[in-house]
């Protein structure tokens, strides 16, 4: 494979797609990737957005307004104020909800604007890989406000650190704690459960513990049992977020709280190893061991290799990555290096089918367009991959057959037309050279040259088979 082809692969297979000028200015494909393996990904791009602690406060205020409004509705003695301009609770509640919706929109806009414009496509792809690995869905209302902040607060700062730090940050973020119900999990033998026994049923919820073992670390064949799930669930009882009453008067100082009263005390045995009773540290210790477990190294390396190289990744690449994981105690940069240092990862015939999200971002990058995602979100929904909305904690699928059916392809052709109708109309052939680099084939080039208009040419480019692949 010539360096020209490799260079295109550095931007497409490993990155989010090339932008104008990218391929002209770079010469060493490996160096393009290697230089991106440090730093805090997107720190500046997201600095203006509120922290999860801010959202917890805003949410508590909106909730209080909603409660007061309900009390007024239920009490006929309290009639709404007559003055149309007065801030009735109903109006406040609507305003509160509008504000929260607006916050989600602003988060998504920032995320896609960054993806469409960052020069560090490989680093950003890694961020998005981890977001999907630790999938959280906006579908679950209590997690709605926190999915995008989790990516900013837990994933971005840890993408080049140890997997342990990443796992710990995600598992104690409000998004994950709420999405997988841990905020409501109470140890059967905790102080709260004993005090309230017989009144309201409180108890253990295994959801987060199970997905940590099955999806986030060991993998479903990683050798854990139901008892391990239950034991881990007990160990992380009390891992929670500030309650509305704790967040209403001021912005809380932390988005994670450990509630000793809800925690089930006692030693726990997970995967044959005993963990002493040490409160919040007990769960932390278990996660630390899970993060460096050989099954985790293998499971996650395989997922990474599948994401970057091929649906069925070369075993030798996965082996090297898993070895780097084990040798370094889960230092992610070492794992990424093992990936990009593997000649097999650069194989000319390796390719990944673009998911709808990849497809959209790559098109925006090639056109040098950074549209607010609000306009494009419906496209992602129709294509089956709305942002932060996987249908399960397993995240969106990462193999060709899941996305390449006839119906899906037809919708993609429709979406290509929509992308081509954005208010930027660069020359189609020049855009194809940017997007595909040395992978642009003669047949595609000829087709684009014959297009009747710039718009129809762009639509053809985005609908073409060549553009559907990260080659």
């Amino acid at each position: 494979m010539t360096d020209d082809l490799k260079l295109a692969s550095a931007y497409n297979r490993f990155g989010l797609g090339a932008r104008p000028g990218d391929l002209d200015h770079a010469t060493d494909p490996h160096a393009v990737l290697a230089r991106q393996l440090s730093g805090d990904v997107g720190a500046n791009a997201f600095s203006g957005l509120p922290a999860s602690t801010d959202y917890l406060h805003r949410e508590a205020v909106a909730l209080a307004a909603a409660r007061q409004n309900k009390r007024m509705r239920d009490d006929p003695g309290m009639s709404p104020m007559q003055d149309d301009a007065a801030p009735t609770p109903a109006r406040q509640r609507r305003a509160g909800r509008g504000e929260l919706r607006e916050a989600v929109r602003a988060e998504l806009d920032a995320r896609y604007r960054h993806a469409a414009t960052t020069p560090d496509g490989f680093a950003e792809r890694l961020v998005r890989f981890w977001s999907n690995h630790f999938a959280v869905s906006l579908d679950k209302r209590p997690a709605l406000l926190y999915a995008a902040p989790m990516e900013r607060e837990a994933i971005r700062p840890n993408v080049f650190g140890h997997f342990d730090a990443l796992l710990q940050a995600v598992a104690s973020h409000p998004a994950m704690l709420r999405y997988l119900d841990n905020t409501r999990s109470v140890g059967d033998d905790s102080r709260i459960a004993r005090r309230l026994s017989g009144k309201r049923e409180l108890g253990l919820n295994e959801n987060l513990a199970r997905e940590i073992l099955e999806l986030h670390t060991l993998g479903v064949d990683g050798g854990y049992t139901q008892t391990d799930v239950t034991e881990l669930a007990r160990a992380i009882t009390g891992w929670s977020t500030p309650a509305p009453r704790e967040a209403i008067d001021s912005v809380p100082s932390t988005a994670f709280v450990f509630r000793p009263n809800a925690h089930e005390g006692g030693a726990r045995r997970v995967l044959g190893r005993m963990y002493a009773d040490s409160g919040v540290l007990q769960g932390r210790a278990i996660l630390r061991d899970l993060a460096v477990h050989p099954a985790t190294a293998r499971h996650v390396s395989n997922k990474l290799a599948r994401h970057f190289v091929a649906d069925d990744p070369p075993k030798v690449v996965v082996d090297r990555m898993a070895q780097a994981w084990t040798r370094s105690g889960g230092a992610l940069v070492d794992v990424y290096r093992a990936l990009i240092d593997s000649p097999e990862a650069w194989a000319p015939d390796a390719r990944k089918f673009r998911t709808p999200d990849d497809f959209l971002v790559a098109a925006l990058r090639a056109m040098d367009a950074s549209q607010p995602i609000a306009r494009l979100q419906p496209v992602l929904t129709q294509l089956g991959e709305p942002a932060f909305t996987p249908r399960s904690p397993a995240g969106f699928p990462d193999v060709t057959t899941a996305w390449s059916g006839g119906d899906a392809l037809f919708k993609r052709i429709q979406a290509a037309q929509r992308l081509a109708s954005l208010p930027v109309t660069p020359d189609p052939l020049a855009t194809a050279r940017i997007a595909l680099g040395a992978h642009l084939d003669d047949a595609t080039a000829t087709t684009l040259r014959r297009a009747e208009s710039a718009r129809s040419g762009l639509a053809l480019l985005f609908a073409s088979p060549a553009f559907q692949w990260r080659t």
């Binding site: 109470v186 108890g203 919820n205 996305w403 059916g405 052709i413 429709q414 559907q468």
Partner: protein, 380 residues
Amino acid sequence: MDPSRRRFLAVAGASASLALWPRLPSFAGALRGNDDVRFIVVLLRGGLDALHALPPVDDPDYARLRRDLAVTDALKLGGGFGLHPSLAFASQLYASKQFLPVVAIAPPYRGRSHFEAQDNVESGGDASAHLQTGWLSRTSAAMAGAEALAVASVAPLSARGPGHVRTWSPPFADDVDPMMLQRLQGLYASDRDLAPSFADAMQRSGDMGSSGALRLPQAMQAAATFMRANDGPRVAFVEDTGWDSHGGQAYQLKRKLGELDAGLRAFHDAAQSIWPKTVVAIVTEFGRTAAANGTDGTDHGTGGVAFLAGGAVRGGRIAGDWPGLSPSALFEGRDLHATTDLRAVFKGVLADHMGLDRGAIDRQVFPDSVGARPMTGLIA
């Protein structure tokens, strides 16, 4: 436009496109088995709680295990069971002997991972097989290529494999420039992976409808609309998500079971002529814990329930062996014990309703399933 109207239009789009469903006269003559019957599988992803949908109201352990979560206003069916009140249409079907619950059922997989369990239901293999193709696709292949349909925006495992399974979901409202399709044709023809999908996409190029969200009732209505055509798909697959009720289960399932009931009604109303020849199988990947958890929900468990509906079903009774909920009867001390392999139900329908021969069912459609003997007496 209000959302319900928008959804109506989405489905109206589906019926408008019926004339464009590709005709397959060459297959009609080649069909083995009964070629005028229909079979549709509805997969409820997330693990429907059988004990909530079909509460064993006379089982003394039920109230003990479920406490506040016990369904106390169930619609009585007899046989010790009741239906959740949100399943009113289903209970009407039951009264007219067109609805058949099969209790204590599960696929061969005994773990508690949704995704593994769903793959197992869709692949139709035994628990260790990890088949990469789906049994609906293999059913289509076994019926001499009779076309099948999956109503989903992303091809589910059940639809992957050697058979002809199309996926369908409401398209964008946008028209596609026919010239553009023509120009793309040559390019796609030389892409080994995408050429078949593109050919499929071309066939539906006139298949326009309004865009809209696809919830279960709309998906089932769309499926019925496609299936009732003379040369429409004989087998179909519809999926729904949102059944994972770890917390707040009573509220969540009230809404979801209401959607399921509306879906059944929508299918029934749209199916019309084919309803007497149809079996609808409503299944899920596993059940949930017998006891309620600490957050008014239930966690992943084993034994679940399957519901068969349709004019071809011998309903109005309860099928399957009920092991009970006493502490000694529970699986691993926490779940309803599964006494029937879910594949036995599918195999019973394929044999007695679809007319597939036993050899094809055992070897081709459900390999490694000899232990799961086709359940008999399901069909009227």
